[in-house]
Every structure is written in C-alpha cells, then in structure tokens.
Symmetry: C2
C-alpha cells in the first residue's frame, strides 16, 4: 500500500559537493523543462533543487534522506535541516505557475530545506535519471522557484558552521593533505590563509591523525596524508566553552 503525499508540504535538498581538484564547492541541480502542448514553444527551461512532497507517514528527515538517495544513491551523508521556506508568493512567478499547473501541486507549499555535504566524486552522474549536474555555488545558472535564495541561505549557514564545527571534513576524502583542507576553507569562505600558520594549527590538533602514507599518482612531490578522527574530536569537546563575541 502506497502512502499518500501531503500536498502542501515538501522537502528540498541542497546537495553540496566539494571537488578537491578544482577547489570548487558545487551544488547538484536538476533540469526543469516544459514545452507547450504543440511543442512549438519552450515554456520552462531552467534548473531546480531536488525535492519532493513529504508522505503522510514519514518524518521530515526521512523525506530528505529519501530524496537524496533517489538522486544520488547515497544514504549516509552529513545532513542538516536548516530552514523552512513558506512565503505565500514563493512559487508565483510566471514559469513557476506554469510548472505547478503541470505538476498539480499546491501554490502555497511550504518546503523544509536541508543541505547535504559530500564529495563531488561520490556521485555518479552518468545515466542519472534526473539529468543532474554540478554547478559552482558561486556561478549558479537560472533557477526556478525560490531555489536561488534557498541555496544562498544554505551556503551562508555552511560558512558560519564551518568556522566552529569540523564539517569541512565531510567535504573532503577520508585521507587528505593539509593543503587540501586549506584550499577547501579558502574556497568556501573566500579568504586567504597563511600556509605555515594553518599547517601548525591543524597538525597540533589531536583529532588530525597523521598517516604513514603519501599521495601517489600526483605529478609532483607527493604530500603526507592525514585523517580526521570524529571520536577524538567529540571526546575533547565536552568542555570547550569559550565565549567569543
């Protein structure tokens, strides 16, 4: 027995994928395309986030996880519910109205927005049934609904959060070099960091574990690899209560 969907409630997923090679934070978007009935005219041709209605018997978190799995096959990624978007006019520009009419959902739909953190390379886009593609967060295409706003707010939340929580490691491979971490911070925050100071700071953390391994297959001097220990991190931060206003 299929469960029914809640007409006026959806989840939307901002899927952030970081690409270590291009040093770019990307968002995964799907195509929205609609022709007129006689196919003479393109009515809608832009991109949107993946999302879907919430089922009657489903939690919000599960709905988001389901949508992510449907899109990427992945299930265990870092997930955060970061905001609900529910303005009465959030779906009411001309293209959106056409689309809604076609898809038959409620003009006043509230969406619970999540973002996911993962590595671009973890998603196989070949044969993706939604024709999903990565777009740099700093160079987004035309977006339907209020999805540009949703992505930008998610990005803002991510920037704030990565200053105080070690979520940068969700965006990097399990084994990484110090410079890769630095590049990720620089790219995401749009700042420059002094390499010597950054190395010292990171290497001194007990939860940054040096490995007896180096990169291979790189065309220059291979760098030492490290990993992040969530266990060590969490044990340390029973205490950390530093007021920093």
């Amino acid at each position: 027995m299929e469960s029914k969907i809640i007409q006026n409630l959806s989840v939307d997923c901002v899927v952030f994928g970081y690409d270590t090679n291009t040093k770019s934070l990307n968002a995964l978007l799907i195509k929205r395309y609609l022709e007129s009935e006689d196919k003479s005219e393109i009515l809608v041709d832009d991109h949107v986030l993946t999302g879907y209605h919430v089922y009657q018997d489903e939690t919000l978190d599960n709905a988001a996880t389901r949508v992510l799995k449907e899109l990427t096959g992945l299930t265990q990624q870092y997930k955060k519910q970061f905001k609900a978007f529910g303005d009465p006019d959030r779906l009411t520009n001309a293209k959106d109205l056409l689309w809604i009419e076609n898809e038959k959902f409620d003009k006043r739909t509230v969406t619970i927005a999540y973002y996911f953190l993962l590595k671009t390379e973890d998603v196989d886009l070949k044969n993706n049934k939604y024709d999903a593609k990565w777009f740099p967060v700093k160079d987004l295409p035309e977006l339907g609904f209020d999805h540009k706003q949703i992505i930008n707010e998610a990005y803002g939340d991510l920037k704030t959060k990565c200053l105080v929580e070690p979520i940068i490691f969700e965006l990097l491979p399990d084994k990484f070099t110090i410079n890769e971490v630095q590049d990720a911070y620089q790219s995401i925050l749009g700042i420059e960091i002094d390499n010597r100071n950054f190395r010292r700071k990171l290497i001194n953390k007990k939860y940054i574990i040096p490995l007896d391994e180096k990169q291979f297959g790189v065309s220059k001097k291979p760098a030492k690899l490290y990993m992040f220990s969530k266990d060590v991190y969490e044990k340390m931060f029973q205490k950390n209560y530093l007021i920093n206003i």
Copy 2:
C-alpha cells in the same frame, strides 16, 4: 474578509524571557485544560507553547510575529526560526489526541518553531487572556505535544548561538552592569566565569559603551552601567573570520 488557515501547518513560539533579578532564563507557557462533557473529569491539564496555524496569505515570519503579539503585545523582539517539527507521531499521545479532536486540527501538523528573546519584565502577565506564565527553562512543568523537545532544542540553539553572537544583550535591559552580563552567561550556559577576566574582556570591547550612570535604588554599592552598541559591533565584524574548530 478573513483569510483561511492552513490546517496542517502551524508556528510555535518559544518565548524566552530572562529575569535579571532571579538570574533565571524562563519560557512563557500557556495552560491547556479540558474537562469531560459532564465536567466530572479533567481530561487534559498541562502547559504548552503558544502557537497558531499559518494563514493562507501570510509568511511564516509574520505568523510567528502575530502569535507573539497576541500573547505579549510585543512586536519588535529578537526572533529566530530555528527548526521545523513534523514527525507523524508528534501529536499522538492520548491527551494530545483528545485535544486535537476538540480543537479540530490535523493530526499530521508540521510546526515551524521560532524562539524569541526578551526580558521577563517586558511582559505584563496581569489579565493575560491565555493565562500565560513564566517557567524556568531548567524546571519545566508537564508539557503537551512535543513541546518539551521543542523548548529544549531552542535552548540548545540559544546556548550555541550566544557563544558567538551578542544575543545575550537581547535578554538584558538596555542599560546593564557587567555583572549582570556575567550572571546571564553563567545561568544560561551553566558555567562559572572568573569575574576579573570577564570584566576585562567585556570592557575592552568597543561595542560595550560605558555610561556616566550608576544603578540606583539598589541596597548596596551601585554598579556602573553600560550599553551595547549594535552599530559598532556590526561595523567591526566585516572582517572577523577566525576558524575555531
């Protein structure tokens, strides 16, 4: 013409009020009371957050502001939308079901939860039409629905946020003493802070403005008063990008 409500969507407001005298962070709760038809039996007698359904033509933020105004008369308080709660079973314990039947709203209602920060003394509870009362966050009464969870998550968010943003001043009067700030931090975070270090730290901030005024009407040595300048604060923090993981 009255606008229609959205049956399965509500906002709930965690109204935090800090009491400078008792040094207690409180939440404002209203009574939920229901008798059986013959009045022989009390069916429901506990407390809940204030909340209400969202109207069709209303933003989520406006719904929350409306609910706060209805309850307290206040309109300009610090407000944060912090999470949506939408588990299918969030309103399904026995008392909640009785209540829902009586009030005729949807068992599967998603609520967008906000918290507000203000001073206990700003709210006049005399003649409050909802019979609202303050309860210390650390000593909550029996609560209906999932409202204990909502309050606790709001409190958690507040604790995190007051470490990195100057929202503590939303909870204090415009003119405050250094010790009042310290007391507020200690009470909210449940920590002890060294008074000398704390004073030095705070007084050195350019956005903590010393006033040519002292307390009066206190029964011991009156303390110097300060105020917080949001303008100065915001001008400073164009830059502050310190990674602190």
